[in-house]
């Protein structure tokens, strides 16, 4: 197990290096630079070129990359060019919001998809199954932002059940428990948007898993022996059906973090997604590289988690080498 972990970590390092190099090149080879919007309209081209040079953007790209890498080796992600603040501070203050959104949508997904998938898996081809299938296809085909705007129109504007966006009610100054309730109210719609498509996908996986299992000999044997229902569903049915789910969910986490951008924009949710969009628009290279690195590390960690969880959930899997 330890050897497995060490080997994986050893592989992760060159992967991260490769990712950082590719992204660095892609981002710097794009037209534009951070000073495009920082200089005033009467700045001469020479003045702008001079400013760029003083920040090191005139150097060859290889040198710039090595400089960035060198700073990274000492644990420094640098400062945002446009905002002046440390990249770690900027990501840190947004991370909580994105994690909250991703986490709550994941919980919502599981809470609905598990029972739903189980239900339709057992009632395969019945009318609930068909209804859920149709809805699933619809939800998966509709773009996130469209779904978001639909929900906002329905629940926030027409019905006034939820706010249209943001993370807190501005100016209300809620504290303590009131603050938690306020954030919760703001969390419902964005989590729902992110969750809906995933519920569709996850419940379908579960459906096929469950319906396969129900016909298996060992399940029939359990019933034949008179094993109580609860003891069939939880340890045998669910545990086996959930095997692929565990992996899917672990891989969902990085997807949630990066796909939150559209949802965050429509709901004015101050997360890492919006921060990365700002960074791209403004060519804020240090901030961008910091965010990309963070996402890369998270993705690799989640992949590792998926592999480890597989071993836990399926005793047939041995973590070899």
């Amino acid at each position: 197990m330890l050897r497995f972990l060490l080997r994986r970590l050893a592989v992760a390092l060159p992967v991260l290096l490769g990712i950082s190099l590719i992204v660095f090149l892609l981002v710097h080879l794009q037209p534009g630079d951070p000073f495009v919007e920082m200089v005033s309209p009467d700045a001469t081209p020479e003045q702008k070129a001079e400013l760029l040079r003083s920040y090191g953007y005139g150097d060859p790209i290889g040198i710039q990359y090595l400089r960035w890498l060198g700073k990274l080796a000492t644990g420094e992600l640098g400062n945002s060019v446009l905002q002046g603040r440390a990249v770690t501070a900027l990501i840190g203050e947004r991370l909580g919001n994105t994690a909250l959104l991703a986490g709550s949508s994941l919980l919502l997904t599981l809470a609905v998809a598990l029972p739903l998938g189980l239900f339709i898996g057992l009632r395969r081809n019945g009318w609930p199954d068909i209804l859920v299938s149709v809805l699933s296809f619809a939800l998966v085909s509709v773009p996130t932002f469209f779904l978001a705007m639909l929900l906002i129109k329905l629940f926030a504007i027409d019905l006034r059940w939820f706010p249209t966006g943001g993370v807190v009610t501005i100016g209300a100054g809620h504290e303590g428990w009131g603050h938690v309730r306020d954030v919760f109210a703001h969390l419902v719609l964005p989590s729902a948007v992110l969750a809906l498509a995933n519920i569709a996908i996850l419940s379908r996986y579960l459906r096929s898993s469950v319906s396969e299992l129900v016909d298996q000999d060992f399940i029939r044997a359990l019933f034949a022996r008179g094993v109580p229902l609860r003891r069939v569903v939880t340890p045998h049915l669910l545990r086996n059906a959930a095997r692929p789910l565990v992996i899917i969910i672990s891989l969902e986490i990085p997807a949630l973090l990066s796909s939150a951008l559209l949802t965050e924009t429509v709901f004015n949710w101050p997360g890492v997604g919006r921060l990365s969009f700002e960074a791209v628009q403004g060519r804020d290279y240090p901030l961008l590289m910091g965010i990309v690195l963070f996402l890369a590390v998270t993705t690799l960690a989640c992949n590792l988690l998926a592999d480890l969880l597989q071993a836990v959930v399926d005793p047939r899997v041995r973590l070899v080498r």
Binding site: S40, D42, K48, P163
Partner: protein
């Protein structure tokens, strides 16, 4: 062996179990949802008591510093927190603010400002002429991390100070606690334009930090100390900026206690206004449908003259475009009135030179470049462009008149104008290819004089009183224009300014260095809580001390 009937019975009981589990799961969600419902109505009442929520359309960069800021969003916060020497009145003339009065020396080169007495910074320290001198002199310092504006370049002693040869800028003098003078190389009327754009910062806060490190002085950048109507309280990145009333504001105690700049975006402001989560927001789109939605929701619209012009800039060094007649032909070919009518729904004006038509020295006799496809074809023919092979596209010496138009994304109206322009130019035989890229990429084309282009759609905000003879975007320069510019940048005589600015604007109009597409009218949507609102172009917050909100 298990019978099928027995098995089915087991499955249906299992299903019943699952159904009840599902029900418990759902009710587990309903309870917190119900709790959330209970939380939401509180939102409508929370605004009772003296709070105004003003939308800004993107996240500020957090550079709350008068001479370092570069975005409109930081500017909104800065202009509420900091005071300026002068502000602009309805006619864009300087109105006394921190500067009570001013005089010019006999030769017109020295401008002496008499400052208001008894003004205090938000931290209690007194405001003096030292602060004023420091604010503007440091812009000329060699370590200042921005480009040097014309204002400082024209100050006496700039070169020596900027090169580091001397330690003080001779053109800026503190005469006493409330008197400061600026001496320029030649009389400079546009100094007031600079004062209107750049508020005064506190010397006692910023002199402690080396100028080279100002950009990274996070603590001071994010906690601005000013002399303005509102004190800085809190900045939650990408959420809001909270400001509290300055009871000792020299312009009068503001009636509204708390001002919150809510960070929003053009797609959601309408929703937020209608649902009562915002009080004031800019109108970014004059679409009739949007206006109707506002009307139905009891939201007032205030309209005013625009401050931002949209252009199709030409690279005048481009061999296709270096003939004035070709450029004029293109302006004639584009139906600019139609752009105003269809894209702006009539809420805008056409213009024909580098200033707003309402600006003081705008000549009455500019070439209007009426929409005239025939005139356009005539001019093109005179420049040698004819359709010799009958394919509908003009050609000259075997070269076809193709025109690559770079369109930046992010401004919907501008994006929509591109295909209309393409059609207009097709009608006179110019084949336009539309190329979209993000704003940063497109603007960098204009800023890089080594890059050649055909046309770029770009906008710019007018700066009243300031006429820059810099045509970097168009890579253009002629001696007559430079001469006019030199004349009006060396005089404070009204007659001299009127004549030379007029001639300069007329010269630009004649040279057709860019297509002046339209000026969109400005506007604000006011929620039902807002009362006593007043503002005018270039000064959205000028009258904020008198605004009130209903309970």
């Amino acid at each position: 062996m298990q019978t099928p009937i027995h098995f089915r019975a087991q499955v249906s009981t299992l299903l019943a179990k699952v159904k009840s589990n599902l029900r418990t799961a759902l009710s587990a969600l309903i309870v917190p949802a119900a709790v959330a419902f209970a939380a939401v109505p509180a939102q409508a009442q929370a605004q009772a008591g003296d709070l105004l929520r003003y939308a800004i359309l993107s996240n500020p960069k957090g550079t709350f510093h008068p001479t370092l800021y570069f975005t409109d969003y930081d500017r909104a916060v800065i202009f509420a927190v900091y005071g300026r020497l002068i502000t602009l009145d309805e006619k864009q003339n300087p109105k006394p603010s921190l500067a009570e009065s001013w005089t010019y020396s006999k030769d017109g080169r020295t401008l002496t400002l008499n400052l208001r007495k008894g003004v205090k910074w938000h931290d209690g320290k007194p405001f003096t002429a030292e602060d004023v001198a420091f604010t503007y002199a440091t812009q000329a310092h060699p370590d200042f991390t921005r480009d040097k504006p014309p204002f400082v370049q024209l100050l006496q002693g700039f070169e020596d100070y900027n090169s580091g040869k001397v330690k003080t800028l001779s053109g800026v003098k503190v005469l006493n606690e409330t008197k400061v003078s600026f001496t320029f190389k030649k009389p400079y009327a546009a100094a007031f334009s600079h004062f209107a754009d750049r508020p005064v910062l506190a010397k006692h806060v910023w002199e402690k930090i080396p100028i080279k490190g100002w950009n990274q002085a996070t603590q001071q950048l994010l906690n601005p100390v000013g002399t303005g109507p509102y004190k800085f309280a809190e900045f939650r990145s990408d959420q809001y900026v909270k400001l509290e009333r300055n009871d000792d504001y020299f312009g009068g105690r503001p009636k509204i206690k708390t001002l919150i700049f809510k960070i929003s975006n053009p797609q959601t402001i309408q929703n937020e206004l209608v649902s009562g989560e915002l009080d004031i927001a800019e109108i970014t789109n004059w679409n009739d449908r949007d206006l109707q939605i506002y009307q139905k929701a009891n939201i007032r619209i205030v309209e005013e003259a625009g401050t931002n012009g949209q252009y199709l800039t030409f690279d005048t060094r481009n061999p296709k475009l270096n003939d004035k007649r070709v450029r004029q032909a293109i302006i004639h070919a584009i139906n600019r009135k139609a752009l105003v009518e269809r894209l702006l729904f009539g809420h805008g004006v056409v213009f024909n030179s580098n200033a707003h038509p309402d600006s003081p020295y705008y000549p009455a006799d500019l070439n209007p470049y009426n929409h005239d496809a025939n005139k356009s074809k005539e001019l093109l023919a005179a420049a040698g462009w004819k359709d010799s092979d009958g394919d509908g596209v003009l050609d000259r010496n075997g070269e076809k008149f193709t025109f690559k138009l770079n369109v930046p994304t992010g401004n919907r109206t501008r994006e929509l104008s591109a295909p209309i322009i393409q059609q207009n130019l097709k009608a006179v035989g110019i084949q336009v290819e539309l190329v979209s890229a993000d704003f940063n990429a497109v603007l960098s084309i204009l800023q890089d004089s080594k890059q050649q282009y055909d046309g770029v759609l770009m906008g710019g905000t007018f700066r009243p009183g300031q006429y820059d003879n810099n045509f970097w975007w168009e890579r253009f320069s002629t001696p007559p224009l430079t001469a006019y510019a030199d004349a009006f940048n060396s005089s404070i005589d009204e007659a001299v300014l009127r004549q030379n600015v007029g001639l300069w604007l007329k010269g630009i109009n004649d040279e057709a260095i860019r297509v002046w597409l339209y000026v969109r009218n400005g506007g604000y949507a006011l929620g039902p809580r807002v009362a006593n609102y007043k503002a005018h172009p270039y000064e959205p917050l000028n009258d904020i001390v008198n605004w009130t909100v209903k309970k």
